[in-house]
Each structure stands twice: as structure tokens, then as C-alpha cells.
Symmetry: D3
Subunit: 321 residues, 6 copies
């Protein structure tokens, strides 16, 4: 029987299908009755589930993270859709279709990674070329990079999102950079590749995306510089060549300054043309990606405008309906 993705649920639908139990709580209402409050998830999103008059008997049959077969009906409460459950059955992972739950799109990641290799291969400056290979030859890095998200919320906030954003920016670099005579395309391309790699350690991409301790204490900009230091050391070891100090500082500057202003967490503002370009290209791709996704996921029923979105301080135009 075909499953309806959470993203496609509507008011008043009857359901009998698997979900993942992202979170669960047993609560007591004002009259003293108990009920179960769930966060149900699949790859398309999450939804609140409520099971009234339920107690430990049901609550203890499954754990957070388990797949559960849910019977119930959707309804709108305070403007949000939720599922009122009448039955919950724990399922064996083997019983569910993993593709319904995995937010990571392996095909997309494969395509992006192939394109990443091609783009890095266009770098002709030998030291940068060798450095790029050190990253690509590091299986552990490749594995983490493919899965990493670019943000907790905001733009490209899903497993594989960092790779998607990185490749997007590198494509823009290849289109734009040759139009500006004084900009070094190889350097800018490498900057686009490196600029957010620290996010691999800043964010936990498995389960719900969240900050690691290291991410909160040190931040992806400094982590990115640390990782670059390790890879330069590996490159020197593998090539037997000292990596140019000046070039290293140029790369570090690209990472360090890419937020453009101190107020957004860059400890240095861009002072090279490549750093200026990188900041603006990053901004362009990040803004178009996040604004597009706000429009996509907007649930305001009527009219041409999204709901007011505090993080961007505005409503967006969705187009004449």
C-alpha cells in the first residue's frame, strides 16, 4: 500500500502507515488523564502526533528513533496540521522502505560529487591542484562531506546540503570569474571549495541537524582553517614540496573573511579581490536558495505572499495566484 509523505498530508486524511518516532513524551492533561505526544518524521519533514488516553502500556513499546506503524487521522489545531493517533505498533526496520525516511539523497550526492571532481580538476595551479587531490583522496573526508548539512535551519539545511551549496558556488565561480580580469579563477574556485568545510565538524548531520560542542565553542570558520592546515601538511608530505606560505595565507584569508563583515562572525573583512568575490557569490547562492525554500514550504493559504518570516524580516512574494 502506498505511503503518503508528511509533506503531502492534508486536513482530514485517514492514515495507516509507518513513521519514524523522532521524539516521544508521556504527558498528563489538566484532568489528570495521560496522553502521548510524538514527533513523527519521514524524509519529507516532521509532524506532531497525539494519542489521547494512552499510558505507559503503549508508551513503553517503542523508543525514540524506532519506526512505528500509526493508525489515525489528520486535523488542523491552532493552524498547524497534526495526527490524532488511535493505534501505534512498533515496526522492524526491515519492514519499512528506507527511501521513505532517508533525508539524504545518495543519487544527488553522487552527481554533485562527480561534478565537484570535474570542477576541481579544472584547477591548473599545481600547488592548489595537489591540495585539492589531498582532500579527494581522503576517504573519511569524502564520506563526511557527502553527508554534511550547510546549516541547522536557513539555507541547504539537509544532509548533502553542504556539497550542494559548494558545487553550486563553484559553478557560479566558473561562470563569473573569467569576466573580471584581476580575479584569479583557480584561487577563487579553491576558496569556494574550502569556505564552509568547517561545517563538517560544526554540525551533526545524522538525526536532527544540531551543533556539536566544537561547533559552538570554536565555529566552522576556525575549524576550516585547522582542517586546511592538516591537508596542507598531508600535501607537503605526499608531494615532497613546501606549500607556499603566501598562497596558504591567501587560502586562509578566503575562509576567514567569507562572511564579509565582522558582525557576521568573520574575524577579518575581505581584502583580496578573490575574497570579495567569494563573499558576494556565497551571499547570492545562499539567499536565493533559502528564499526559494521559504516560498516552497510556505503554508499561507491565501494570496500572493508568504507568511512573515522573522529570520529574514519580511514576507516574500509568491507570484500572482
Amino acid at each position: 500500500m502506498s505511503r503518503t509523505a508528511i509533506h503531502d498530508l492534508a486536513d482530514g486524511m485517514t492514515l495507516a502507515q509507518p513513521f519514524q518516532a523522532a521524539d516521544k513524551q508521556l504527558r498528563v492533561n489538566r484532568q489528570g488523564g495521560k496522553y502521548i505526544l510524538l514527533k513523527l518524521s519521514d524524509r519529507s519533514g516532521t509532524i506532531v502526533g497525539m494519542m489521547w488516553n494512552a499510558d505507559e502500556t503503549t508508551f513503553d513499546t517503542f523508543d525514540r528513533g524506532d519506526y512505528i506503524h500509526c493508525t489515525g487521522r489528520t486535523q488542523v489545531h491552532n493552524g498547524s496540521l497534526q495526527v490524532i493517533l488511535t493505534e501505534i505498533q512498533r515496526m522492524d526496520p526491515a519492514e519499512v522502505d528506507q527511501s521513505d525516511f532517508d533525508r539524504f539523497d545518495a543519487n544527488q550526492a553522487d552527481n554533485n560529487f562527480t561534478r565537484l571532481r570535474e570542477l576541481l580538476a579544472t584547477i591548473s595551479q599545481p600547488a592548489l591542484h595537489a591540495l585539492a587531490q589531498s582532500y579527494l583522496n581522503d576517504d573519511s573526508f569524502v564520506q563526511s562531506f557527502r553527508q554534511a548539512a550547510a546549516a541547522v535551519s536557513n539555507h541547504h539545511a539537509y544532509p548533502g546540503g553542504l556539497l550542494e551549496h559548494t558545487v553550486n558556488m563553484m559553478e557560479l565561480v566558473r561562470l563569473i570569474s573569467p569576466r573580471y580580469a584581476k580575479v584569479d579563477t583557480d584561487l577563487l574556485l579553491m576558496g569556494a571549495f574550502l569556505h564552509d568545510l568547517g561545517k563538517i565538524d560544526e554540525l551533526r548531520a545524522s538525526g536532527e541537524i544540531s551543533y556539536t560542542d566544537r561547533g559552538q565553542l570554536v565555529g566552522h570558520i576556525v575549524i576550516g582553517v585547522q582542517r586546511l592546515g592538516e591537508k596542507i601538511a598531508e600535501t607537503e608530505a605526499s608531494t615532497g614540496q613546501k606549500f607556499s606560505t603566501g598562497l596558504r595565507h591567501q587560502l586562509e584569508h578566503l575562509i576567514v573573511s567569507h562572511h564579509g563583515v565582522l558582525e557576521y562572525g568573520s574575524p577579518k573583512i575581505p581584502v583580496t579581490l578573490e575574497a570579495v568575490a567569494l563573499h558576494h557569490i556565497d551571499n547570492l547562492d545562499a539567499k536565493l536558495a533559502s528564499y526559494s525554500s521559504i516560498i516552497d514550504s510556505d503554508i499561507a493559504a491565501d494570496g500572493n505572499w508568504t507568511n512573515y518570516t522573522p529570520s529574514i524580516g519580511r514576507k516574500l512574494w509568491k507570484g500572482d495566484s
Copy 2:
């Protein structure tokens, strides 16, 4: 005899060649002697000229704006190059090579305008196509647009600079826009064309670039909207078709919001994807153009850095010397 452009003058050169007298003053020194202070210009820039022990006899032989044949010698004073003049002779305009003095590059403008026509021709939406033609069919507009500057100082601050910046942005739009599925390329291309047209009336491009009264009182953003209103009326008259109100508001929004934030003079922030894209593409081209020109014209002799430039709040890296 070949003329040395102001841009190429160096300390200690002997000169006997034409300049334009951009400004002139007769001054008295502390000991009561008189001298002439000049601002000399050619297409490559301006320089201060001083003629000691000179009085009305010489001063009254030429007017501001005249071409003058100057004999003298360059020297550095307080860190700036100037010319110490020993003789000044007014010249007939017919005697000078106009190409030495005209900051407007007609060839470049022709090429840019040809490219502008091609880019506007790619617009397939009929109403936008017709509107673009109204602009192109207006000879007075075309004449002004070709000569207009994009700024008094800062980026593209020369006659023809507005056209250069506009075409540049339209090129970027054609490269970037197709990569974002929800962005309407025709609309964005039209936005890039329209966004700064109000500068034609905001700035005086003949002589030294400066603000008009209208420019200071009303500003290019509102002027651009006014001009658009006139052209839409012309388009309606020529096509016999009512221009869509919704589409008009979209275009007005692109002009009105292209500075991105209120603090920079946009009375509305971008709320359509095209307006968001336009703002960031404008920023990217303007910043790369102005930073490149700061590096080009920097005179700091030693080392890898430009002088500190207050308008951008930083020194720029010029590259390993």
C-alpha cells in the same frame, strides 16, 4: 611631439604640451607675491599646476575650460605630484587632439550598446519586449544613456560607466539566472537594465561628474520609477495594449529595492526572488569594479597593499610584488 598623459607623469619631468584648465585661481602668498594655482586635466586624470610670480597679465589670458599649452617641470610636494609652470599659452581647440581629453570612449560605448540590444532582444515576454523597444527607440534616451556615469566617485565613475555597468550586470544575469528555477530571467534581465537608469538625470556627466538639483532632491531610485512610468505610457500608446498593472509593480519593485536595505536608500527591501537576485548581482559587479579600480590607481610605492581607503574601510591586497 607626443604628449604624456597625466596618469603617466613622474617626478622631475620637463613638459611642453597641452592641458585643459579645469580650474584656475590667482592667489597671494604670505610675502604678498601673486601666483596662479591651476587644476589641469586630460582624459587620464587631473593634476595641480602652480605658476609662481604670475599675475593678472597671464591669469586673464585664458578661461576655465580652455586648452592651454604649458611649459614647466613636475615635482613632488607633500607627497603629491604637481607641475611648476614657467609659461602658459591659450590654445585653439582645433590645435589639440580631442582624443587626449575626451574621457568618453565612443568605441567602447558602441560595443556596449550593441551588446545591450542583443541582450534585450533575448527577452521573450511580449510586454517586457515592447517596453525595452520603447527605451531603444527613444533617441534622446539612447544619447543620454551612452554618456551617463554610474557614480561621482566609487564604481564606474566616468562617462559611459552606467552603460558599462548595466551591460555587465545583464551578462551576469544571463549566466546566473538559469541556474535558479524559480527566478524569471526575463524579469531579472529587465530589472538589470532599468535599475540605475535614474542616474541619467541624477548626475551631470558633462565636465566634472556632479549631482543635479533633481538628483539631490529626489534621487535616482524615484527618478527611475518616474522614467519607467513615462516609458510604459509610451509603450501602451505604441502597442495599443494596457501594460499589466501587476507586472508594472514588479518592475517598480526591482528599481525601488535594488539597494537591498533601507539604510542604503531603498525605500523597500527586496521581497521578490528577482529583486533579491538583482541586489546581489549589482553588489557583486559594483564591488569588483570599484575594488579593482582602487588597486589600479593606488600609488603606494612599497609592498603588497594599497593605501588605506576610507570609503571601503580597508587596505586591499595588490599581490605579492
Copy 3:
């Protein structure tokens, strides 16, 4: 039987009287029961209404905007007053006293409009006088202006509020302007008249006050300049006289700069004495009007202070009780 205005309702009152159904929703509670959630309005304000155990049978008998006869009882819930309804009957508009529901006060508007004519009549500068007449002779403009609100919330946020605020400011101009020798009273009076006229198209005054698409995309400042352009063209046509370009730019500047700083949406800051005066007089009237209305409508029961009001970042002193 006399009707109690919403503004005068108190806890524990029994009601049987007409309201307008400003909004309606059918909801399902946690136990699966249905209930109706209403926004009831009259000219004095709005209040939430709840009808428990009600379903489509009742819900479908009336539409949003209909008048309904409501039986029920008021109660305080989470600190707000609401009405618990036991019966709802749709009414014919002829059955209700329109004066109970019309937030627009026609008498007040008549008085304000008479005063507006008198104030505009004091303008002696011929071109400004003729321009003012063009506005007054435009019946469609007059009709819209009388009904327009000055804001969605904040100051003068009711139908007729724009006229009220405009006349108020013009009165202040007549009192204050003659005290400053260099200020042109005619020009300043005209500026006070024109400064917010763009709000006629920015806001929808019928039903709940809200932004139009044009209002959100273009904004009342630019719309006001566009409207002025149309009226100047009409004036030129009716008088057969070219309107002075310099004077036109002065008027446009008054509209364009009246928010005083870029951060508040003025694309130009005030640079004429009249524009400086206009900004401060606008501020004075708007602030005193909105702060007075916050004090009037404050419901904090105890003491000398209003509740903290986030939009103004403070509590206000209500006076020693």
C-alpha cells in the same frame, strides 16, 4: 434594546445582540469535538467568540462579513476577554443599526474635509493653489482620501485617519511656520497635505486595514510621487501653464524625505528647511496621537502605567490614579 459596544464589555456579562463576523473558523478540539472560533467586530473594536460543540450545521449558516445575532456570556481567558456563544443567528443588514458597525465617522470626515479646503485656500502661491484645486476637484481622489487610514496599526489606524492626521499637521504648520522666517509656509502647507497621500493606494481601508500588493512592492512614498506627477499633469492641462520644474522637485523632495532618515524608508534625507520642518511636525503629531491612543486603550488594571508596549519599547505613564 440597547446594544453594548465591544469596547464596553466586561467579564461575566450576558449578551444577546448583533455583531459582525469579521472572521470564522470551524475547529476540532483534542477530544475530537468541533467548535466555532469567531472574530466578532463592531465600530469600537474586535473580540474573540467561541461556540463549543458546534458544527457545520451552524457554521454554514453565515459568511465572513455577515451580521449575526449572538447569545452568550463574556469571560476572561488567559487574561483576555472573550464571548462564549450559545446561539448564532444570521441577520439581514437592514436589521442592524449601521452606526454601530461603521468605524468610519462621516461627520468627523465632513468637518475635517471642510477644514482641509479652508487650509488649502490659504495658499497664495498661484501654482500651488492651482495644484491643490486639482486634487480637490478630483471626486475619485476625494472619495478615497476621506476613507483612507493612515496605518495598519500605530497612529490614526482607522478609516478617515489619514484625513485626520493630514488636517492636524496642516493646523500645526499654520501655527508654527510663521515663527521661522526662512520657512516658506505655502510650500510647507502643501507638503503636509501631500506627504502621506500615497497611503490611499498602499492600504486597503475597507474591511480590516491591510497592505495592497502595490503598497508592499512600491510603498506610499513612491506612490505619492507618482500621484503628484499625475496631478501636476492635470494642473498643467487645466491651467495651460507649465508647472515649474524646480517647484516640482521641492514638492517631490517633501514627500520623499518626510521619514527623516534612510532607515525609516526615506530614500533621501531632508535637505530643505521645509522638509526638515515637515519631518518633525509629522513626528510630533504621529507620536502624540499614537501614544495617546495606547494610553486610552490600555487594559492594565492596576496602577499608573500601561502595559509594556513592544512597538514603542516602553510602558507609558497614565497619571496618578
Copy 4:
């Protein structure tokens, strides 16, 4: 022989008339020669004077503050007018016409003070009335108040300027306040009277206006509150009535909050309607006064605009010439 005021001097004039020596220095030029550098003043302004080849013989014949008879000629140096002196003679104060040098206009102060008494007399609230009398009965206060300046530069920056600004504001209060029903005119009038009185101790009005130590360490806002405390004590003593604590706090609040926002040095923002009104009326009068005076004293020769004035961040429109 009639004297030319400094304000009316022009380039190339021959002079033989008295000035006040506001400042004097004996300097050595690069060739080792000595010269005298003077700051000459009269009631219309100040100007630099230079006497070449002058030494102690001349320098020691007069002191700072003395009147001196100067023979010489005006000239423009680096864009500023100065006087090149050939002879200096110390004068007896009895020889000069004091009205040429006294920046304080006693007639104007008399008129303003008469009007001040009338305006304070309109206060009907008994305690405020009595308090006002305490100020008026204090001869030392009256004497200081008449002479005080409202600022070092900026608005009303001349002896008598504080009184002028205070009376101006009180006039505005009488015109504006009755239009706002909830505003207490007596209280607001008293606020306008009190708001800047601390400037009497903050600034030294004799000689060049400058900050006192107390002014720099404590500031006029806190000083104004201290002075009010003293006057309330005197009022209580003279009337034998306890001054209402609540009313006292209202008055203190008017002084304390009149700059409107913390960033401008008010330790509290306005929270009473009178304080809100006071802040905006102060702003209106101060801005119109200072902008008018910038236009009056502007020396830009050509065109419709003043020079760019950093303190207000703009050029001002001087009117179509």
C-alpha cells in the same frame, strides 16, 4: 570713521580699525624669522590675523582680550580670509564702541525675558506657579540665564541663546499643546522652561563659549535636576507648602528624558505624554534654528547648496539663486 564688521570683510580690503585680540601667539617660520599669529574678534565673528617680521617688541605690548587698533589688508589664503597686519596698537577699552564687540544683545534679552515672565504667568497650577516665581525671584539665576548660551556650536550658540531657545519653545508649547487633549499644558510649559537650565553651569558664556569642568563631568541634564531640587526647597520654604513628590518626579522626568533616546544622553526615555511632546518640540526648534543658521553663514559662492556640513551629514538647499 565707521568700522567694518568681521562678518562683512571681503578680499583685498584695506583696514585701520579696532579688533579684540581673542588669542595671540609668537611663532618662528622655517627660515627662522618671527611673526605674530592672532585671532581677532568682534561681535560678528572671528578672523585670523598675521603680522610678518614681528617680534617680542610688538607681541608684548598687548594681552589676550585687549582691544587693539589694527592696520593691514585682507587676503584669501587656502580658501579662508585673513588679515595681514602692518601695525598693531593697544587701545583703551574706553576708546572702542562696546556695541561693536558685545555678542550679547541686551535689548533682545530684555524682550525675551519680558515674554518669559508673561508665559510663566499663564501657568495656573499653584505649585508650578510658585516654583516659577522662585526662579524669577532669584536675581543671580536671572542674571546667569540672560547671558547663557545654548551650545558651544550647533544651535543658539551665543550669549542669550539659551533664553531665546527657551522662550521659542514655550511659545510653541502654547500654540501646540491645547490641540492635544491629554497633554497638561502647564506641565509642558514648565518642562520647556526647565529642560536646558543646567546649561547655565555646563557652559562658560563669557569669552569664547566652552565647557566647564562640571559640564564635562556631570552634564546639563543632571545639573538641571540638581538646580530644580534647590529651587523646590526654596519654594517649599517660601510657601510653607510641601511640593508634591509626584509632581516633582514629573518635572525631573521632563528634564531627564528630553533628549529622547539614551544614545543622545538622556538616562531615561520619555514615558509621559508631556515628555514626548517636549522632546519633539525641542527637536523642531533646535533643528530649524541650527539649519537656518548654517544656511545664513554658508560661504559657498556658487549655486543653490551650502557646503557639506559634517555635523548634520548633508548639504542644505539655499534656494534657487
Copy 5:
């Protein structure tokens, strides 16, 4: 039977013990039933109490502020702990152990006050010494100071907190000041003592800490200066010596500028070394105290981080668990 402090309550506990009724409301639920909503307090904190199906019969048996014996059970609702009450009995104050309810720790205050006397006794400058004694000899001041809080929320927000913070800062002054040669330790010590004394009148420390009218209208900085003026007058009377005007301005400056910047409510920024030191020492102690208390009272169950705290714009690290 031993009482469990509110701070130590956990989910699912059965209770039968006294609380203070800090607040009480009788409410009606959606079904029309009545219930009592209470704010229960003891010295360790406050908690919400709910008594279902209770009406005036119970509600009227006690007043706000009374001690009540409560029977019931704790539960978590929406993430907060509350008490569901089944029985409420008003108690006589004599029946409760006052030490369970008194948030003021008299022993701690005694110790702090003793230390305050010792620290003030180290001041050797005679005028400052005498001034300090005037404060200490004022029993009414001493009484109020011991009980005062330093804030409504934020740091040292409890009765006795102002004394605690003041003594802490004076201890830091004695440790730090001698390391900076140009800093006058006596003056700085006196500044630390005086800087927040205005809070005695700004805040009501009895019952729930809240702002007084004077506090909101005038603020503790100005009040502190007023209090200082009174004490200087007393000191002059008792010693028969005029207090140095310069020294008085130094002390006033320390109070007036201690918030460091205008934006935080100081009408003057620090311009003496002692004022600079005072501001930074205040900041250091206040931040460490408030951040420590946020960590102490954080209830986030899992992991190393507190919840996000809006007032400080961050999560805090609680340490590796």
C-alpha cells in the same frame, strides 16, 4: 515534618506543606467550569499551582500574601513543573517557619555590612572618610541598603543583593586598584560604594521586586546623585567643613558614567581613570554573577549547555557532564 523547598521539587511528588500565595486568580475553563490559578512562593523560588473544580468557596478563604497549607501533587505541563492542588487551608503566620519564606538572608547581610564598614574604614582621604561615615551613621539608609536588591531580574536580583554586589566590587577595587599607579584607590573605593545606591529608591525590595514610579521616571543614576547631594550637605553640617567642589564633581561623575556608554543609560561616558576602572569592575562582577546564576538555575536536562537565554543572546556552557 520537613518541608521541600520549591527549588527542590521534582515531577510526581506528593505534597502537604505550607506555601505563600504570591498571587491568585479564579478562572473559568472552556467548558464553563471554574478553577483556581495560584503563584506559590517560598524563599527558594515560585511555582504555578492549579486547583481544578474550585470556586469562590475556596477562593475567598485566603488573600494574596497569605500562607496556605497545600495538599497536592507535582506534574510537568508544557515543560514546566506545576502543582495540582486538592486542598488549600489558610495558615496563621505563626504556624510557619519564617526562614522558609524569607528571601532575605540576615546573616549574610550582617557579614556583608561588617565587611563594608571595614572597607570604608580603609579610606584615608579625610573628606571621603567623613562622607562615608555620614552614610553609615544614617540608620534609615543602613536599613534600606541592607534590604535592597540590585535588579528586578538579571544580576543580584534579591533582597540584600545590592549590598552583596557593592561589597564584591569594593573587594575587587582593593585587589586591583593598587596595580595601576595613576588610579586613586580611595576615590575608586568610594565610587564602588556609591555607584548603585540610587537603586534603593528605584526598586521596591519588599514582596516581588519591581520598579517604583520614581525609579521609572528618574532612574537610579540621577537618584544616586540626588542622594549624594543630601549626604554631602549632612557631612558639611556635621564636620563644619565645605566639601570640595572638585571632589564632589568627581564623585558625581563616577555615579553618572558607570554604565560606560550612553546607550546603557549613562548621560556621560567615563572620562576619569577611576570612572573607567569602575565601569569595567562593575561589568566584570555583574556579568560573572548573572551568568553563574543562569547556569545554576538552568533546567535543560540533557547535555553541556543551558537553554538559549534571550537576555544574554546565547547558550552557556555548563561543563562536561
Copy 6:
């Protein structure tokens, strides 16, 4: 013959003594005559020197950095003291007393370093203790650290200043930290030691203090983290123990966040108590040091105030003269 230090020079002194030629230029005056412009330095400061009517004959006899014996006379020009030279003789370095020219005070550095060792020895946490030893055992680090400056201008801007500032802060930590129970003194002491070590590579301390390329591109915060990484690796190698990852992140956070807010270049704000304390202690010492030095070096002759200092936005009180 005893030498007068630059700091002690006054107007009108005759000189014949050595200086170091920090900079030299040969210039041409308006009349075409040549002169030499020098920047003379010794350990107490720098001063401008002018030799009139001097040409290549003298100019070429010495190089920048050479010691020269100067004969001449001091004079005030435009408010600054300068030396008019009549004779210049190049000297052999052996002829001068090095202690007159060396801005680095070796004794002071020795004392500071001894104290640094003592303070680091108080750290009892084994891993931190071992890490501190790694720094102390690195001779190249020790050598650089002793000579490093803490700033180009501002606080501790001299060779040895970084060590001075570091030891000062560590002393404050030992005094203050034990007063706050939740603060880990070992960690905070280590943070004070590490926080600015990146300045060793950010600034060039030899000759005039200036930024290195690495300093401008990467900045001392990121460099400090890089250096820490190297030292942790050395410590692991020497102890054979893995350094705790959590502890490493704590140390990195102390470096990364010590500027306190993003706007001042910290890519992360302080989120641990130690980081909060470190930021405030750094601020306290830096401000008191720089303000004290502004007062010391102020040259305003008259009165109680320094000149207005733009970098701190204020005049400072120098004390009653």
C-alpha cells in the same frame, strides 16, 4: 656630555647629540630649493627634523636606520615641536649608548618573564601544566614573545608590551578568579597566557611596529589557535599522552572569543564563564593601560583635560592642576 631624550625636548633648545634616522626624504620647496626632512627617533619617541638648503651632498651620507650626530635648535611649528638642523654627521653604532635608543627594556622583560614562569607554575591541572611547559621550553617562542608588542598604537604598543600585558592579566586572574566559585582558575590563567600570542606573528616588532601580511590576512585570533595546535601536538609528543579534546576546545574558545563581541573580531562570543571573565579582565587592563598612556603623553598645555582623542572619542581628565 649628557644627551636630552626626545621626550624631554622643549622649545628653543640648542642641540648637539645623536639620534637615529628613522626616516629621511630629500624635498624641493616652492622656490625650487632643496631641503632634508627627517624622522629622528630615540627610545623615548620620535620628532621631525628639517635641514634647510641641504642637498644630495648631505643626504647621501647616511641611510635610514643609521645613527647621526645632529646639531641644531628646536622650535614649535604649527603646534608641534621640531628640530631645525644645521649639521648632520653619520655615527658608528659603537659611538652611541645603545640604552638611549633601544625601546625594548631587557630588564623589565626579564622580570616579567620570571614572573610569567612563576604564574604558569601555579597551574596544577596536569595537561595544562605540560602545555605551558611546551611553550616555555620553546626557545624560539620565548625569544619572540619577549620582544613582541601588543599593538601598533593603542595599549602596550612597544617591544615587550605583549609580555607586560600578558603578565598583568595573569596577576589579575590570580587575584580575582578565586572570588568566583564556578570559575576554573587554572583554565582562566592559561587563557590569559594564550589569548594574544597570535600577535607575535601578526605584528613586526623590530623597527617601527607594523602588521605582517599574515597578520592582515589571517589575524592574531586565528594565528593563536594555529600556534596552540602546534604546541598541543608537541605536548602530546613529549608526554606521550593524548591531550583532551574537550579541554582543547575550551582553550580554543578562550582565544577565539576574547574580544567579547563579533563586531570586534571574535568569530564566537564568550559562552564559558572563563571566557566571560577573560574578556572583561582583558578589557580592564587594556583600557587602564591605554588611557593612562594617553594622559602621560598628552601635550595640551593648559588645564585639566587632555586633547580630544578620536580613537577613544573623548577628552580625559588629567586632574586638578
